[in-house]
């Protein structure tokens, strides 16, 4: 197999022969390779720029390592699945002349030395060879125009335009310096392959310079739809030509592609490279000589050439931490979104694209925080979480913190910590005796009876009643005490322009009624309270809201504790605005109400209980079917626990009265409750009838019994009035049907009022009874 070695051997003499090319050389026309941060203001010296270019252009792949920047040069994109990712037409053109096809690309032209007549053919060979490595076919895909519009919004909102050119309302490109061109994208990708790339860019480009924007699959598809634009006609599936594949494989080795692109079928790139080591390199020749016909062809600008020459001339140097940090921030273009001393930060042209849901928070609500003193501000663990685990604390900010990959920026937290220092501030841990005082003071300060921090800050997922600023719960996890202390005393000094006011102007507490107006103690109280995390309790002024469950066009079932249905309560909301409660412990329809369904408490330990969202009519919660020995016999009542007698004296009450709950089934959301009363099986289903402005619940009881039997049904208790088969209790009118099953209806005294008992004579087998519960408005 041909190797990279042969490329070198074959051309090395030529290289030497051409070495006499003038030192001052014209620059190759076209867009030079783009390293976006270098096009904006930055604090890097010319030599450091050279070092960064050597890294980003992957010079080390042939020439060996130069200066240790503290991070790795980006590996070249993976070519394994290029077949399904990239259109064949694009691939050929790109290989033939990368810079012309994708302006600003860091990939050099390696075919430039060939006679023009051969280039396209060799490029086609290479393209077919690369195609032969993949299995899945390239697909154009159908772009959904609705997704295009969503994609446009996302593209301009989540941070893509920090490094890429935005487009205006008319879709015209707004060319900004420091932009990586996307002009090639629509020719290069299919919808799916671009969406896949955007969803997980590091699979193809492990170097992380194109970061993972934490897009969901759907969002990735939307942005891909936008970038691809209108659907194109599908090109016929391309089958690689075996002859070209064989030639392409040879060419891949011959032209040194394997130096940057690792392919399993190629020799490893650790093979000795023929290119000169840095110490032997002549900075006016080879890649830096635009007329060289023997080396990869970069379209370097004059500034870039000069910078690399300066670096080579000076030789590798040992960089201090601050330089390494600056180089890292430049390599990953962190400063497109973050300010840091010496860098321009978000440029005026890009600034309007940083947006927010909380405009009241000012620029700090829409522009990512400064990185000045970031190492002194954040705890290491938090830096790791933000950089590598996609942790975010500003949900209102539309621009997302990208993920560059731990493999690429794993060094950054420690580097920040070593570089940025503040004089330490000791916030002493409270003694056991002080804890409660400080905690209470901290809680007071946070709430609306103190400094009212919660009017602008969320707290433990609860929304602030005012601005929805950063959740205060994150404070202790994120911040170093020295930074926190300074920030508390002077928010504007640590975060210029922040809307947060000073609560201790000139070190004097504005809140004089807490901790004797002692500034140190107040700040300490807040820090201690934050250190308690969730256990710090919710400050006064936060809204605790019950959650209303809403019934739309489908019935809803909700199980939970409730006064109206007992501990084993079930609320049923039916479309049409009729709701009822069922006590599953005893088998009683225990309440009804019209209008909204239920509100559920979701706070604290004792959550999950429900209350009817409107005034309800309560019905008895004892077992509702029973075999009375005679019409005089008392109805068996459920045990009642009191403060004095909290233990259930009759824990088997329902079971010993024959009741057993079997469950329920849903049809279109409407439940049918199933239960036993001894050997009687009951299916209990209610639906809505409307009659004028009265809302009527029609309850159907289906009985199934192996033998004919008599059973009593207790329908109502309370101060109701009876009129024939209709019985009225408040706004409820219960109407019993004319049914042969009803043997007897009895109204008799019960406690201080009455109870309505219905004696049913049920035949063996199946029978049913319909009862109407009408609710007046």
């Amino acid at each position: 197999m041909m190797s990279t070695r042969s490329f070198g051997l074959k051309h090395y003499r030529l290289l030497i022969a051409l070495a006499c090319v003038a030192v001052t050389t014209p620059v190759v026309a076209g867009v030079p390779p783009t390293v976006p941060a270098l096009e904006n203001d930055h604090p890097l010296s010319s030599k450091q720029v050279g070092d960064l270019l050597i890294s980003e252009l992957r010079c080390a792949a042939c020439h060996g390592e130069h200066t240790d920047l503290g991070f790795s040069a980006p590996p070249a994109p993976s070519l394994n699945e290029v077949r399904s990712r990239v259109s064949i037409d694009f691939l050929r053109r790109y290989i033939a002349d990368p810079g012309a096809t994708d302006p600003g690309t860091t990939m050099p032209n390696v075919l430039d030395h060939l006679p023009e007549s051969q280039r396209d053919s060799v490029a086609a060979d290479l393209a077919d060879y690369l195609q032969s490595l993949g299995t899945a076919q390239f697909k154009v895909g159908n772009v959904d125009s609705a997704e295009v519009a969503r994609g446009k919004k996302l593209f301009h909102r989540v941070g893509c335009v920090a490094c890429h050119n935005p487009r205006d309302k008319d879709e015209s490109l707004v060319k900004l310096k420091g932009s990586v061109s996307l002009s090639h994208v629509e020719q290069k990708y299919g919808l799916q392959s671009l969406a896949d790339f955007l969803f997980r860019p590091h699979d193809v480009r492990p170097g992380g310079r194109m970061p993972d924007m934490r897009l969901s699959r759907r969002e990735a598809t939307q942005i891909a739809s936008y970038l691809i634009g209108k659907s194109k006609s599908a090109s016929p599936a391309h089958q690689p030509d075996p002859v070209r594949v064989a030639r392409g494989k040879t060419a891949f080795a011959e032209h040194g592609c394997a130096a940057c692109h690792a392919l399993p079928s190629q020799q490893p790139k650790s093979e000795p490279k023929p290119a000169p080591r840095w110490s032997a390199a002549n900075s006016s020749r080879g890649c830096l000589d635009p007329k060289s016909k023997t080396t990869p062809r970069y379209r370097l600008s004059k500034e870039q050439t000069d910078a690399i020459r300066a670096t080579i001339g000076a030789g590798p140097t040992k960089l201090d931490d601050r330089s390494k940090l600056n180089l890292t921030l430049a390599a990953f273009n962190c400063t497109a979104c973050h300010t840091r001393a010496g860098f321009s930060g978000p440029t005026p042209e890009r600034n309007p694209h940083f947006t927010t849901d909380e405009p009241n928070l000012g620029d700090h609500g829409r522009i990512p925080p400064t990185l000045d003193l970031a190492g002194a501000k954040f705890k290491t663990l938090w830096l790791q979480k933000v950089l590598f685990d996609a942790e975010v604390v500003r949900p209102y900010m539309h621009t997302r913190m990208p993920q560059f990959g731990e493999a690429n920026t794993g060094h950054l937290p420690a580097l920040f910590k070593r570089t940025d220092r503040l004089d330490p501030v000791d916030i002493p841990e409270p003694s056991r005796e002080e804890r409660r005082t400080l905690r209470d003071a901290g809680n007071r300060l946070l709430g609306d009876k103190g400094l009212n921090c919660v009017t602008c800050h969320n707290f433990n997922g609860l929304e602030s009643p005012g601005f929805k600023g950063m959740d205060l719960m994150t404070t202790f996890e994120r911040l170093e005490p020295a930074w926190f202390d300074r920030f508390m005393r002077s928010p504007g000094a640590m975060r210029p322009g922040i809307v947060m006011p000073t609560y201790w102007p000139d070190g004097k507490a504005v809140r004089t009624d807490v901790l004797d107006a002692n500034t140190e103690q107040q700040i300490r109280a807040l820090w201690y309270t934050f250190s308690l995390g969730r256990s710090a309790g919710t400050p006064s002024g936060m809204r605790h809201v019950g959650t209303k469950l809403v019934v739309t066009d489908k019935a809803r079932v909700y199980r939970g504790r409730s006064r109206i249905a007992g501990y084993r309560g079930i609320a049923v909301g039916l479309p049409g605005g009729v709701n009822y409660a069922f006590n599953a412990e005893t088998g009683a329809l225990s309440g009804l109400w019209a209008g909204e369904f239920v509100s559920v408490n979701w706070n604290g330990q004792a959550a999950g209980n429900f209350n009817p969202a409107a005034r309800a009519v309560s019905l008895p919660q004892d077992v509702s079917f029973y075999r009375l020995t005679d019409v005089k016999a008392a109805w068996p009542l459920r045990p009642v626990m009191t403060k004095e007698q909290p233990v259930n004296p009759d824990p088997l009450y329902p079971r010993n009265r024959g009741y057993r709950f079997l469950g329920y089934q849903l049809e279109d959301g409407v439940p049918t409750f199933r239960y036993h009363s001894d050997d009687l099986r009951i299916a209990d289903r209610s639906t809505v009838l409307t009659a004028g402005d009265r809302r009527v619940l029609q309850r159907t009881l289906r009985f199934s019994t192996p033998k004919a039997q008599t059973v009593w049904f207790r329908a109502l208790t309370g101060s109701f009035e009876s009129n024939g088969s209709a019985h009225r209790l408040g706004k409820l009118t219960l109407t019993l049907p004319q049914s042969s099953l009803i043997d007897q209806t009895t109204v008799r005294p019960f406690e201080k009022a009455k109870e309505l008992l219905v004696k049913l004579r049920l035949p063996a087998g199946e029978s049913s009874l319909e009862i109407q519960y009408a609710l007046e408005p």
């Binding site: 685990d389 409660r436 308690l532 969730r534 256990s535 309790g537 233990v647 259930n648 079997l662 089934q665």
Partner: protein
């Protein structure tokens, strides 16, 4: 210091008030999170914006979806939980249930343990929405919000187990509060153990025996894993009033005496089962929760066949191992990973062998700063240097490591062991007492450096043996990722074992 009944009761009241207040420091951190991430990454699993998923229970379905039961009573089926960059699809299978702390799948149905009952729920019309809810068991009382119910997975015979917390966490006012129940495949409910306090999960240990999680409080000075077998009394006497409803259990145990030691009291109260694995309070969690066993075949790293469990308060995940000695269960617990975002209520291995954690920080003090979260632990493939497992020997312990120890540098005195026990009493929590510091009198290594045997000059039955191996180094000169482990000795093996 034995307390008389009245003063014990007064103490209970005071402590119960104190513990109901928020505002506690949840304890020291291990301080190992920065190093842990090299070996085990915590991957945040995105959730739908409009859903509140306070996971209380997990199960893996035959179609490899992850079922999540929530405190808010929803059941979600989640596809794509194992994607390297998770972007899962959530499907709400059921809703409107009451606080789910148990999910088990069998024969096309999901068995859901809710506060009110154990239900079998299924989709009968093929639209992937639960439409049939059968009550499998509701044979327990439920009359206080704090009466949570925790459900297990199925055992080999098809039984499920339900652990029932006390009323208001101190009393047993409704039937079988503070009991564990067995529900047979035929749907019969059999009470099998009393004396539970505030369980946090029930399931099977790595050997298939039924265990439950107990929380620190009265009669439990630390959280613990306890073995449940028919007839057991787990130590908290509030629930002894229901024996007449459980004739299969025989007569009620003697009332335990407050202020004693469990090792002596179990000689008197014959049904009393000692804590199998004590989790020293604060150092190893403050309210440990649902557990599972690593059956991933090594895909999760070196801890196959070990118990993994979370802690609610401290937002951490720990390991535990158990063994049976002379018919009594005992074992050890080990730190594993800290730095989770919320209070962990349950854990579950995914089809790909990652560990899902979930929970909420609602209601009790929690270190994690998110109201609820789903986080996945992925092994990075890099081998941590850890204490893998500790088992007991007649005169000492066998200690296994995940990587070879630098034997030449290891000395007997590097195996530091101290011991303590707790007062067995009705007060809330309690100090570590009766401390001893045994001497490591001999040290022997296996040739591969992965196993060490130590003999101590004394082993104290009834004590937690706390290991600090911080001076050991691996052959690559690494210190242990976690230097501590805690072995609870309930019995000593005979020398001829």
């Amino acid at each position: 210091m034995p307390l008389n009944r009245e003063s014990a009761f007064a103490l209970l009241i005071v402590l119960s008030l104190a513990s109901s207040l928020l505002g506690e420091d949840v304890g020291e951190r291990w301080g190992t999170a920065e190093r842990e991430r090299e070996y085990y990454r915590i991957v945040s699993v995105p959730m739908p914006k409009d859903a509140v998923i306070e996971a209380g229970a997990f199960e893996v379905l035959p179609d490899r979806r992850l079922a999540i039961g929530t405190r808010r009573g929803d059941v979600y089926y989640v596809s794509g939980i194992d994607q390297e960059k998770p972007n899962p699809v959530y499907h709400r299978f059921a809703t409107g249930l009451d606080e789910i702390f148990g999910l088990a799948y069998r024969d096309g149905a999901l068995y859901v343990t809710q506060s009110c009952e154990l239900s079998r729920i299924q989709d009968t019309d093929g639209d992937d929405q639960a439409d049939r809810f059968d009550t499998v068991s509701d044979a327990w009382g439920y009359a206080n919000y704090h009466e949570y119910a925790f459900g297990s997975k199925f055992d080999k015979q098809g039984n499920l187990y339900v652990a029932l917390g006390l009323s208001a966490s101190y009393h047993s006012r409704a039937l079988f509060r503070g009991w564990a129940l067995q529900i047979t495949p035929e749907g019969k409910t059999i009470p099998i153990a009393s004396g539970l306090r505030s369980p946090g999960g029930i399931g099977h240990n790595e050997h298939g025996a039924v265990f439950y999680i107990e929380s620190q409080g009265p009669w439990n000075s630390s959280c613990s894993l306890k073995a449940v077998s028919p007839g057991s009394f787990m130590g908290h006497p509030a629930s002894l009033n229901w024996y007449k409803y459980a004739p299969n259990m025989g007569s009620a145990p003697l009332q335990p005496e407050s202020g004693t030691r469990i090792v002596t009291e179990k000689l008197r109260v014959k049904q009393l089962v000692p804590y199998a694995v004590v989790f020293p309070y604060i150092r190893m969690g403050r309210s440990i929760t649902g557990f599972t066993v690593d059956r991933t075949g090594g895909r999760f790293g070196p801890f196959e066949n070990q118990i993994f469990l979370g802690d609610y308060t401290q937002s951490i995940v720990m390991r535990a191992t158990t063994e049976q000695v002379n018919g009594v269960w005992q074992g050890a617990c080990y730190p594993f990973r800290e730095g989770f975002s919320t209070g962990i209520l349950n854990v579950q291995f995914t089809p790909e062998g990652n560990l899902i954690t979930g929970g909420t920080n609602r209601g009790w003090p929690v270190r994690g700063i998110k109201p609820y979260a789903l986080e996945r632990i992925d092994w990075t493939g890099k081998m941590p240097f850890e204490i893998k497992r500790i088992t007991i020997e007649p005169k000492g312990f066998k200690i296994m490591f995940t990587k070879p120890v630098a034997r030449s540098r290891a000395k007997a005195e590097h195996f530091k062991v101290t011991t303590f026990t707790h007062i067995y009493h009705g007060g809330y929590g309690g100090p570590e007492v009766d401390r001893t510091t045994p001497k490591t009198v001999s040290l022997r290594f296996a040739d591969d450096g992965l196993t060490a045997w130590i003999d101590l000059d004394q082993i104290t039955v009834g004590h937690v043996h706390e290991f600090d191996l911080g001076e050991l180094r691996s052959r690559d000169d690494e210190p242990l990722l976690h230097r501590h482990a805690y072995y609870t000795v309930n019995a000593l093996p005979r020398a001829d074992r």
